[in-house]
C-alpha cells in the first residue's frame, strides 16, 4: 500500500463510523519500490491530497523528510517534488494493519494489499 492510497482510504462505510479518517498505520514490513519520477504528476497531485495526513502517515513509518506545510512555489522545486514523489509512490507497506480511528477495528495488510472487506454485522443492510 502506497501512502497516496492511504491518503484516500477511510473506514466510513462501517456501521457506526462517521468519518473514519485518517486510518493509522501499524507497519511490520515496509519496502521501497522504484517508480519513474514525473514532476508534473506530483505537482498536480499535491493540491489533491490531505497534506497533514500524508506527513503524519510518513512519520509513523519513520519518514520525516516532509515539511509540515506545503512550500510555496512547489511546482518548480524539483527537490521538493522528488521527496513528495518518494513518499507518495515509492514507500510500500507490505505487511501490517490499518486502524479505524473511531472503533479501533483493524484492517490487515498482506502482500501490500489492505483488506478492507467488512463483515456482515459491520455494514448497514
Amino acid at each position: 500500500m502506497k501512502l497516496l492510497t492511504h491518503n484516500m482510504l477511510t473506514s466510513k462505510c462501517m456501521k457506526g463510523v462517521s468519518v473514519g479518517y485518517p486510518l493509522s498505520i501499524k507497519a511490520l514490513d515496509i519496502r521501497t519500490v522504484e517508480v519513474e519520477f514525473n514532476p508534473e504528476f506530483v505537482a498536480k497531485m499535491i493540491p489533491k491530497i490531505d497534506w497533514a495526513v500524508l506527513c503524519s502517515a510518513a512519520e509513523s513509518l519513520g519518514k520525516t523528510e516532509l515539511p509540515k506545510e506545503v512550500i510555496d512555489n512547489y511546482e518548480n522545486d524539483q527537490d521538493f517534488l522528488k521527496k513528495v514523489h518518494h513518499i507518495l509512490l515509492e514507500v510500500d507497506v507490505i505487511d501490517g494493519e490499518l486502524v479505524c480511528p473511531e472503533t479501533g477495528r483493524k484492517f490487515p495488510i498482506n502482500n501490500g494489499i489492505p483488506n478492507m472487506l467488512l463483515n456482515e454485522d459491520e455494514i448497514y443492510l
Binding site: S11, C13, I113, P114
Partner: protein, 599 residues
Amino acid sequence: MNQKCAKKMERKLNKLKHVVFKETGIVCSLNPTNNIVICNAGLVNGLSEETILEHFSVYGTLNNIVLVPGKSCSFVSYVELDMACKAYEALNGQLPIAQDNKPVYLLYAERLPQHSIDSRKVWDELPGGLVILDDFITENEEKLLLSLCCFDDSLVSQMKNRQVRHFGYEFRYDNNNVDKDKPLDEKIPKECDFLWKRLHENTDWKQFVPDQLTVNHYSLGQGIPHHVDTHSAFEDPIMSLSLNSAVVIAFKRDDRDICVKLPPRSLCIMSGETRYDWTHGIIPRKSDVVLSNTGSYTLLPRGIRVSFTFRKIRQGECNCQYTRNCDSYIRKNNSELQIAASEIERLHVIDVYENIALHFNETRNKPWPNVLEFVNSFDVGSVMLDVGCGNGKYLGKNKHVFDVGCDTSCALLDVCKKNGFETFLTNCLQLPFKDAVADGVISIAVIHHLASEERRLQAIEEMIRILKVDGRALIYVWAKDQHKNNEKTSYIKQDRKNRKSDTDVVVADENSEAPVSKGMTLPVHVNRTQFKHKDVLVPWRLKNQQNTVEDTFLRFYHVFEENELSDLCSKLENVEIERCYYDQGNWCVVLRKTLIKNS
C-alpha cells in the same frame, strides 16, 4: 350595452360555444337552463370550486360545480332556473376571475359533463375504521384546551408556516416519525386527562391513553399534505380533536377520495384501515366547498383551527395487515431480500472467483478498446479507481494517472500485485474511499454480479460518491441480448470456434435449475447461448492439466435489458448520463457526477 358591444359579445360567445363543445362535447347556447358554463376559466387557469362558489352562490343555491380536469371551462348548476338567469345577467363579461383577472364569459349548458373531477369525491361515507364524534367536548373545555397553547413566537417552531408544538415526544414532519429514545421534558398536559375518561366511558376504546401530543395551529389558508402516520412510530388508533373552526379533511386510497367535515369540538378517531391504509390531508385554502346532505354545495369559510392530535408511541415493530404503507413490513421484507442476495453473491460470485482465479486470469487478458479509450482520456495527475479490477487488465494502461484497483478476490489481487499494481480488497457496495477523491471510475463486468436491484444501485451510488463533481465513471454490464443488430457477439460465436478447447461438456438440460439460498433456485444458463432469464447461474468449467473438466462452478449473473442500466443510473440525483451504448455483448454507460439538482 350599446349595439356595437353587443355584437362583439355575440361573436365572442359564438366562438366560445365551439371551444366548449370541442373540449367537453356539451352543447351550450344563450337559451337559459339551470346550468351555466364558464367558457374561459377552469382548472388549467387555476380556478377553484371555492372561488366559483363564493361568487355564484350569491344568486341562489348551487347543486353542482364541475371543474373538468385539464380544461379551461367549468360548470355550475342552480336549483332554480331564475337563479341561473340572475347570475348570468350579473356576471357574464363582468366577473374578473378568468386568467389574469380577465372577465368570465358565460353560456347556458344543456347538461353537465359526466366525468368531472368531483365524481371521484365522496361525501356520504367514511373509510373503514374512521369515527367522528361530534361535540366530544363543550365550549368551555375547548377554551381551556386552547389556553394551554398560546402560540407566541418563542415557543413554536415555524414549519411550512403551520405552527406546531409537541408534548411527550417530538413528531418530525420530515420523516413522519418520532425519536423514541428522546422523550421531551414536557408531557401531555394534565388538563387533557378528562378526554380519556370520557373516551373510555362512551366508546369501545377502553384502554387508549396517549403519550404523545402534537398541537397544530392552522392559520387561514393553511393545510397539511397527504400522509400516513408512520406505522412503526405509533399504535392504533390516532385521535385528533378539532378546536375553534371546522375544516374538511380528505382521505385517499387508490382512486378513492373521501371528504369528511370535522366540526369544531369533534373528535376524529382514525383506526384500522383508516389509520394504516388511507392517507389523510387538508387542502390549503381559505374555505371549503361542502356538499350538504340535500345535495347542494355550500361554502364553509375556515377560521383559525387548532388541532390536538394524540398518539401512543409504539414499542417494537408494526405487524398490521396493510403492508403497502407499513414501514415495518417493508424493512423486514427488504432485509430478508438483502440477506438472500448477499448469500447468493458470497456463494456464487465471491467464492467462485477465488476458486477459479488462476484459470480466469489466463483467459482474461485482452482489454476492450472502448474501455482503454476511456482510461486514456484522463489527464496527468488524475486519480482513478477500478471497481472490480480482477486481474488488473485495465490498470497501468494510462501512465499519467494514479490508478488503484479493488476486488473481492484475494487471488486476483495477488496477480495485480505481481504486476506492480496498487489495490485493496473490498466489496463494491462499501468502497473504503473518501468522498469526492477520484477523477475517474471504471467498473467493467462487475455489478451484474449483484443479486438485487437495490444492491446494483448502491454500487453505482458508491462509485459516484467517491467521484469529484465533473468526474466520470464507465460501467459495463452483461446484456441479456447477445444478438444485438443481428450480429452475434463473440460470446456466442466462440461456441463453434472454441467448443473443443473451452466447453467439452454442454449442459444437456436446457431447463435445469440449481438451489442458491434457503429454498430458492435459479436457472442454469447454457453456455454460449442467448440468455433466457435475467437472473441466472452461468457455469464455469475448471479444467486440469489433461484439459478435462475437473470441476464446475456456477457464477451468479443478472443480465441487463436495453435501457435497464441507464434507468438505474437515472435514479441518482447527482448524475448525468453522458453516453449509453452496446459493446461486446454489454450495456455500457458513461456517467458524469454533477451537483445535486435543485429539487
